[in-house]
């Protein structure tokens, strides 16, 4: 996840609290989604008997597919919310939109 791009569309300057706060909200949202992703895929893929400390082959493959499906669900739910107009106030700046981070 590359947090900072190479472009700087604004000249070096003073801090705009509004823009920083929006970026922070976006960061909080991504952290929230990531934490939910980690715990959801743990519930789906990891055997909780903990007989060994390594991920076995089955668990590893399951994790990869789990993340992929979770992203699809994220996209689908985002599209639906947008279609329902619930997304009116949403999609803060910075190229962020439903279904992607």
């Amino acid at each position: 996840m590359s947090l900072f791009g190479g472009r700087s569309p604004q000249p070096t300057g003073s801090i705009n609290p509004e823009r920083v706060e929006m970026a922070l909200q976006e960061l909080d949202m991504i952290t929230d989604v990531f934490n939910k992703l980690v715990s959801s895929c743990h519930a789906k893929c990891i055997n909780t008997r903990y007989a060994e400390g390594d991920l076995n082959k089955g668990e590893s493959v399951c994790i990869d597919r789990c993340v992929s499906k979770f992203f699809e669900v994220n996209k689908k739910v985002g599209e639906k919310l947008q279609a329902l107009g619930a997304g009116a106030a949403a999609s803060p700046g910075g190229g962020s939109s439903f279904g992607s981070f």
Binding site: E21, Q25, D28, M29, D32, V33, K36, S40, A43, K44, C45, V61, C62, D64, R65, C66, S68, K69, F70, E72, V73, N74, K76, V77, G78, K80, L81, L84, A86, A89, A90, P92, F98
Partner: protein
């Protein structure tokens, strides 16, 4: 809830803060729906893409969650109004 004890300047300030919170609440609702519908609908990890059955489930789950929240919200408001009335008698 009753914010009438705040003066107009304070109410205006609250309104601005509430608007910001609504955005956060919306994003939290979004990620909650994703988490819950994923958990309920996706149980087959032999593939990395959603089956059409899973897609349908996610779609229904999202709809149902929104309708559920809306109905709970309506009842919540009614109960709340009742409780405030009872309290002011």
């Amino acid at each position: 809830m009753d914010f009438s004890s705040l003066n107009p300047a304070e109410q205006a300030h609250m309104t601005k803060i509430i608007e910001k919170k609504q955005m956060q609440d919306f994003m939290r609702m979004y990620s909650n729906i994703v988490e819950r519908c994923f958990t309920s609908c996706c149980n087959d990890f032999t593939s990395k893409t959603l089956s059409s059955k899973e897609e349908g489930c996610v779609s229904n789950c999202t709809d149902k969650w929104l309708k559920h929240s809306e109905r709970v919200g309506a009842r919540f408001a009614e109960q709340n109004a009742e409780a405030m009335n009872a309290a002011s008698k």
